[in-house]
Amino acid sequence: MTAAPGSFTAANGWTIVAASCLALLIAGVVMTPRVRPADGALRAAILEESVQSTLFVHGDGETWYQPLAVYPSRWLIRAGVPQELAIRLPSMVAGLLTIVLAYVVAVQLSGDVMLGALTTLLLVAMPGFRGASQAAGGELWTVAFVLAWFVAILSWIEHPRTWVPFVGGAALAASIYGEPEGVWSVPIFFALGVILLRAERRARSAIWRSAIGIAVVAAPAVGWVITHREAYADTFGRWAIHAAHIRSPGDGVVAFTQWAVMARRVEEYWQYFNPTFLFGREMLGLPLLALVPLGVWAVGKRWSQTGRLLVVGGSLLAPVPAVLLDAPRQAALASLLLPLAAVSGAAAIPVIAAMRRGRSAVMTAMVVLLLLTLTLAAK
């Protein structure tokens, strides 16, 4: 990591990361968490020890929960942590991890510590991120694991150490245990990683090592699905690409090729980028509208091919797992958009700063952004 021009050092950057983490923790403890429709059932699954809990946890009816959404909270409760805090604390930890990893990704891509620090500030300013880090559930774990995969790829490109792709692949596969869409995140972001790695020397061995990492971590989940065939329809069934696969996986794949099904999925995908959703209170928040489009332009125009693929390509891929689940549009299913949008938003700031009177404009914009975020959060 390199320091930004001027006096902004890596230490400053980490200080801001720490401040962002602190802000997230304070917000998590002080603010009333937003209650989501599915929260009640998940809370019940966490608190009810008698439900079928092997690796995946059986909730009510057809619902099975991924282990990271349930077990950490249970263990915290057993360790004596107050129930309300124990239910939310794992998400907060995943949120803190996401802040740190988003900072590292931003700095790795831009070589600018200041940009990394701004990324963390923007991330904490996002209502969707704060909401996710206060709520029970494993979506931020999935985000953190995908970001860890990105960090591993970028680290390997910078210093090709043999163990890094393995660890990155293992981290990516861990997203299977966070949320149902994490199952689809693995092949999708592995493919993105392969595209990035292919341009480098010794790419083949790196790809193999990351694939082995994925296989090792995914093995328990695969084994569990094989040994719990009765849960197939409600576990793999929920993650599969079309309901017809309940009859057989082949039927699901064939059904997906139907014109009407494809049309519906395309519509679902498109709606994840609807500005009223993207910049609404469930996701990035309205103030980010001032930065993200410019930032995407800046990334597309000024960043390296790797940066473009990871930030813009990653953002475009972020809702794909949710669309493959065929679930109604939910912020929780596209949480990876949050850190990537934060990186894009931060990328806009050097562009504004380079303009005439840009620095004062940046300062004003940041103050306005902060005030607006606080005002909207208070509503």
Binding site: W259, M262, A263, V266, W270, Q271, F273, T276
Partner: protein, 523 residues
């Protein structure tokens, strides 16, 4: 610049080929005439016949009707009237005028593409994209005004391109005249044409061409004189537009009109949703519109391969704005992204309000296709395959359009009113009925009756009575009387009780009973 005469000849060939593609089976599919087509046709027929509209006004600018005080758009009616001077009134002849307008748009698109894009093959692809666009094909076969802004938009782009190259005053005049004339093509064009004028002014102003701006404005202003004069004659027109389209409502208790709601955060958010949904690729490239009047629901508004070309074209144009010639690229992109504006104002995503997007998509997609054809052999093969897929997908669409679609959409076109009324008219040729009773429950039955009476050359106007069945107004049957009512099983017994001895059920295209022609034959 390619040889102008040969380019013009090729554009004419494109137009002829498009007519050959668009014109067959005009009375077959769409299965019936919509009431709007009927009303446009009756006005056009009146103008062709007497020079006066249905209200007796001599060559009016807008065509007012009871229930539609805004007035129908003049361009469509006068073009149709010109056709009806030469052709007899029929379903084909009234739709043929729109076919010609649609085909002219495709021919002009070839001209535009040939003048702006380097290769002749790419110009043919542009014309192919436009001609095979399902939404454009469907709308060009309806005798409505919605297609008319399309050729005007392409003409505008051609005129701008020529002016930017030559700086001739004549071309600046043409820009103003075309945009001014475009206002009379369709109500939505009254929003888009001034917008295009503004965008063109910005381009010229940015280039420091004040003289061009003035000339264009003067020409546009000259075209506005009839509109201003009409405004003096019909001072209520704008308030009629505002109320007819629910744009403004004095009573704000329910949120006011559509324009008033734009001032609220909620209204603004909903319009952003509409704008976003307008560009929904699912609708644009997979399923089309929900209304079966303007879509088969089996194919997108555009053919699916166009999505790839369009994406490449947009990326190319945003990276190299001069790819379509200086100044034209930004105008095309501006036009493309603002095209849903009339739909956004009306909070309605249906493409019929923003068909001007079709030529803009065609030119940008052709640019994308050209770009792919320039690259390595893999992308070239992909471009060729995608281009070849377009006629194939269109063939599937056409097979459905002339087949099962007719049955699916029949209800959307008001049912088989034609068959019922023609039954009465054909019988009348043999022996004129003493009275004709037409149930007002059949939507716009009066207009349909007038139209088909004129088509068949049978005038029973003085013997026709319009009745309200809902009010229990079933008349007693007299000898040699005939009545047309909606098919309703409960009605059948009542008709028999009232002395209507013979009842013929007119089936819709899907076989369901649509209307009843009841008669009491003369002894």
């Amino acid at each position: 610049m390619p040889p102008f005469r040969s380019t013009l000849l090729q554009a004419a060939l494109v137009t002829v080929l498009t007519v050959a593609l668009y014109a067959p089976g005009l009375s077959l599919s769409p299965p019936h005439l919509t009431h709007d087509e009927i009303k446009f046709a009756l006005q056009a027929e009146a103008i062709a016949d007497t020079g006066r509209d249905l209200n007796g006004r001599l060559f009016p600018l807008y065509f007012k009707e009871a229930g539609f005080a805004v007035g129908r758009d003049p361009m469509c009616i006068y073009v149709m009237a010109a056709f009806l001077k030469a052709l007899p009134l029929s379903e084909q002849s009234i739709r043929l005028s729109t076919v010609l307008a649609g085909a002219a748009g495709v021919g002009l698109m070839f001209l535009l593409a040939r003048l702006t894009l380097a290769k002749r093959s790419v110009a043919w692809i542009a014309a192919l994209i436009m001609a095979l666009t399902p939404a454009y094909y469907i709308h060009s076969r309806l005798a409505l005004s919605v297609v008319y802004p399309v050729p005007m938009t392409v003409l505008w782009l051609i005129a701008v391109m020529l002016y930017l190259r030559t700086q001739r005053t004549r071309d600046a005049v043409v820009i103003g005249l075309v945009l001014g004339a475009g206002i009379y093509s369709y109500l939505a064009a009254a929003i888009m044409m001034p917008l295009y004028l503004g965008a063109t002014l910005v381009v010229l102003w940015w280039r420091g061409d004040r003289r061009g701006c003035r000339t264009m404005l003067l020409a546009f202003g000259a075209m506005m004189v009839p509109l201003l004069a009409w405004q003096l004659i019909e001072p209520d027109r704008y308030s009629n537009i505002l109320s007819a389209y629910r744009l403004y409502d004095h009573d704000t208790s329910a949120g006011g009109g559509l324009l008033q709601r734009l001032a609220s955060v909620q209204g603004l958010v909903s319009r952003v949703d509409v704008l976003w949904d307008s560009f929904n690729p699912g609708r644009l490239f997979f399923t089309g519109e929900s209304s079966l009047q303007i879509s088969t629901r089996q194919v997108g508004s555009f053919l699916t391969p166009v999505a790839v070309f369009l994406l490449v074209g947009i990326v190319t144009l945003s990276r190299r704005p001069m790819a379509l010639g200086s100044g034209l690229g930004p105008l095309v992109l501006f036009g493309l992204f603002t095209s849903p504006l009339p739909g956004v104002i009306m909070a309605d995503v249906e493409i019929r309000r923003w068909l001007v997007v079709v030529p803009l998509v065609a030119i940008v997609a052709a640019l994308g296709a050209g770009r792919l054809l320039e690259k390595g052999w893999r992308t070239r093969v992909a471009a060729i395959v995608l281009t070849a897929l377009m006629p194939l997908q269109f063939a599937f669409f056409a097979r459905d359009y002339f087949g099962p679609y007719r049955e699916r959409s029949s209800v959307w076109f008001g049912g088989n009113i034609r068959a019922a009324l023609n039954t009465v008219l054909d019988d009348a040729r043999l022996r004129a009925p003493a009275s004709v009773y037409l149930a007002n429950e059949i939507p716009w039955v009066e207009a349909y009756w007038r139209f088909y009476s004129k088509v068949r050359g049978v005038d029973l106007g003085d013997r026709t009575h319009y009745i309200q069945l809902g009010a229990g107004e079933i008349p007693r049957a007299e000898d040699a009387a005939v009545m047309v009512t909606p098919a309703d099983t409960s009605l059948s017994t009542q008709l028999a009780a009232a002395g209507w001895t013979s009842q013929r059920v007119i089936a819709d295209l899907d076989g369901r009973p649509s209307l009843i022609v009841a008669t009491r034959p003369a002894p």
